[in-house]
């Protein structure tokens, strides 16, 4: 009995050390939220391997006082979505790079930097900052998100009131081997408005990011994100979304490389006839160091006639590990819910592993919910079919990997963005021909 107690003490001490390192804000519209978040973080404590929610993923490198160094990685490839006409905002190791960014004022949407919003009285942001994060803490604790709300150094606050003319593109750059970046973004899509948000690039040696997205009645939000290709990064990201009546939320993430990536997505469907889709494609090759990728998703249906989809695909080789924890919670009264969840892994060798925990919890009787999880190797019959037409084995394997990932990529509505993602996948596969 002594051992667990000692560990708890260690956790408390580590939590206290983090709290001590977070500056307590005196003023500004986020001050109250930060103070509240810090108190919640203190009550929850840092996540540990013994927590059920962290059973498959060791958070110690995310919570260590010292940042585990991550070598800089020059992919030597063109900026993803670089040719897409967008409002580009650049963060280098978590710090805004005004010189490399477009002028937010000229964007046609309201964009304010969190670090500059400090004293300003931005009502909509005050109603959002830390609010969805706090709501997302039940029924499962997400201490790293609370820590983020308390300690975020910067981020963007974006509000759209109409159809945004062009996407907002958050570009992350990593230039310090020991950077520890904490960014917090708030996005408000007002009634009937529409926004596409792009996120690309390696952000820091260690990255803690929270994005709160509030989509009002009839609003539409599209999110396409590419993480990588820095091999040694550690990242914990959270998306907290609330979708109102008749609105649409769509998020897609491509993850390549990275020692540890935990992407949590918490969606609250709060209005009738709304739709929320979250998808991910991850490519992990353990031969360049550890690869551990964790998608943790929690979708709550709390309205009538809503649809949700979770589509997660992972391609793993050379000792890579993939994790999926996904839940659909249908609250009482959320009738006519259509919930769907699929998590699949394609193991390209026998050294890799996929750990999945799909969950459904339903308190309404007129719903349609399904979930599935599979893990398997390349389909030999399909491989033979392609080869019998003259396609070489490596090329045929690459085609089958793309085939496997297709369902996830189809969740990207914009064909041009989807095409660029496929291009990156093809490049990744081409580099790994054996």
């Amino acid at each position: 009995m002594a051992s667990p107690k000692r560990k708890d003490t260690a956790r408390e001490a580590a939590t206290e050390a983090w709290i001590a390192s977070v500056p307590v804000p005196e003023a500004g519209f986020t001050a109250a939220a930060r103070k509240d978040a810090l108190a919640r973080f203190g009550a929850m404590g840092l996540p540990g391997r013994r927590d059920e929610y962290w059973k498959f993923t060791d958070p110690s490198s995310l919570t260590a006082p010292e940042v585990p160094p991550a070598a800089l990685f020059d992919a030597g490839e063109a900026q993803l979505f670089g040719d897409v006409d967008s409002v580009k905002l650049v963060f280098t190791d978590g710090a805004f790079d005004a010189g490399a960014s477009d002028d937010p004022a000229a964007a046609g949407v309201e964009i304010t930097r969190l670090a500059e919003a400090g004293a300003a009285d931005i009502h909509w942001a005050q109603d959002l900052y830390g609010v969805l994060e706090a709501r997302g803490q039940t029924p499962v604790a997400r201490p790293l998100a609370a820590l983020n709300t308390a300690a975020a150094g910067d981020g963007v606050l974006i509000r759209v009131t109409g159809r945004a003319e062009k996407p907002v593109h958050l570009i992350y750059r990593h230039e310090s081997e020991t950077s520890d970046a904490i960014l917090h973004h708030c996005i408000k899509v007002e009634a009937g408005a529409e926004l596409t948000l792009l996120e690309t690039g390696p952000a820091a040696a260690r990255f803690n990011k929270v994005m709160e997205v509030d989509v009002a009645t009839g609003g539409r939000f599209h999110h396409v994100r590419a993480q990588g290709r820095d091999h040694e990064r550690r990242a914990a990201t959270h998306i907290f979304a609330r979708v109102a009546e008749g609105s649409l939320f769509k998020s897609f993430t491509l993850t390549v490389n990275g020692q540890l990536t935990r992407n949590e997505c918490v969606i609250e469907i709060a209005g009738d006839n709304a739709s929320a889709h979250v998808a991910g494609a991850a490519l992990g090759d353990g031969s360049y160091g550890k690869f551990h990728h964790d998608d943790t998703v929690f979708v709550t249906h709390d309205a009538v006639g809503c649809e949700s989809r979770q589509v997660f695909k992972k391609v793993l080789k050379n000792g890579a590990t993939g994790v999926f924890q996904g839940k659909i919670l249908v609250k009482p009264g959320a009738q006519k819910t259509d919930g769907y969840q699929i998590s699949q892994s394609l193991l390209l060798d026998e050294d890799s592993q996929f750990l999945a925990k799909p969950e459904l919890e339903i308190y309404a009787d007129d719903v349609k919910c399904s979930h599935g999880s599979t893990t398997g190797a390349i389909d030999e019959t399909a491989l033979f079919y392609l080869r019998s037409r003259g396609v070489e084995k490596e090329e045929a394997t690459a085609l089958l990997v793309l085939s496997f990932l297709a369902d996830a990529i189809e969740e990207i509505e914009d064909e041009r963005l989807a095409g660029e993602i496929v291009g990156r996948l093809e490049d990744w596969l081409a580099r790994r021909k054996t």
Partner: protein, 251 residues
């Protein structure tokens, strides 16, 4: 063109011999048909020739234009001119029919030391071939065989054959699952490819496909070997009397 000598093959996983000394020679420009009851080894022969995993060649040889194909990878056999039209064409979601066909054609050309076909030329080529098989542009855009009807899948196989222009075509029960109209369309596609430099090996249960694709030679296969060889009249005999008579005759 295709020369098979004393081919003995067993399943890799279990100690079960399927082919027990197949001897068969198919000359350029000819259409040979192989008929036989279920389990006689017809499909196994097609798989072994095209290089599918799971079989072990115990004895014998198979050469295409004098080259030993049994040692080759499946893609090398394809580049050498061999083509197998599958009994059950495989669905490959997320890979466009055109992408697949172009990868296949260019891979074969590359393997033969030829230059790749440009996107424009390829499109023209496929459209022209597709038209005669009544394959519309929509079907070409869809992922490989996904959502295709039985007939569409088989037509797609023949389209691949028409585009890749192999010299030795093996059709494995191409008539299975087809209604009369679909079968006729497929047969027309095959007949259009008949050429003095090209040979066909048509594997089928029934004579009806051979009404549309007239064979020069008909072989009866039973228990892993060719037990009788004759002209087109042999197929008619099977149609009329079944396999029992022939098998009894040779027993």
């Amino acid at each position: 063109m295709l020369e098979i000598k004393n081919l003995n093959v067993k399943l890799e996983e279990e100690d079960k011999q399927i082919l027990k000394g197949v001897d068969l020679t198919v000359e350029a420009g000819k259409v040979h048909a192989i008929m036989g009851p279920n389990g006689s080894g017809k499909s196994t022969l097609s798989y072994v020739l095209s290089g599918r995993d799971g079989y072990e060649v115990m004895d014998g040889s198979a050469t295409l234009d004098g080259e030993d194909i049994l040692e080759m990878e499946p893609e090398e056999r394809a580049a050498a001119g061999l083509f197998l039209a599958f009994q059950y064409p495989v669905e490959i979601p997320g890979v466009g029919n055109m992408t697949f066909l172009r990868s296949a054609l260019n891979a074969q050309r590359k393997a033969r030391g030829e230059s790749e076909v440009s996107a424009g030329d390829f499109l023209k080529l496929v459209r022209e071939k597709a038209k005669t098989l009544k394959i519309d542009a929509e079907m070409l855009k869809r992922p490989v065989n996904v959502g295709f009807s039985g007939g569409e899948k088989k037509r797609n196989e023949i389209l691949q054959m028409a585009v890749l222009e192999p010299t030795m075509c093996i059709l494995d029960e191409t008539d299975s699952g087809l209604d009369v109209d679909a079968m006729k369309l497929v047969a027309d596609g095959v007949n259009a490819l008949r050429d003095p430099r090209r040979a066909f090996l048509v594997i089928t249960h029934y004579q009806r496909l051979l009404d549309h694709i007239q064979p020069d030679v008909v072989h009866i296969m039973a228990d892993g070997r060719i037990v009788k060889t004759g002209g087109p009249e042999l197929a008619l005999e099977v149609e009329k009397n079944g396999y029992a008579d022939i098998l009894a005759e040779i027993a």
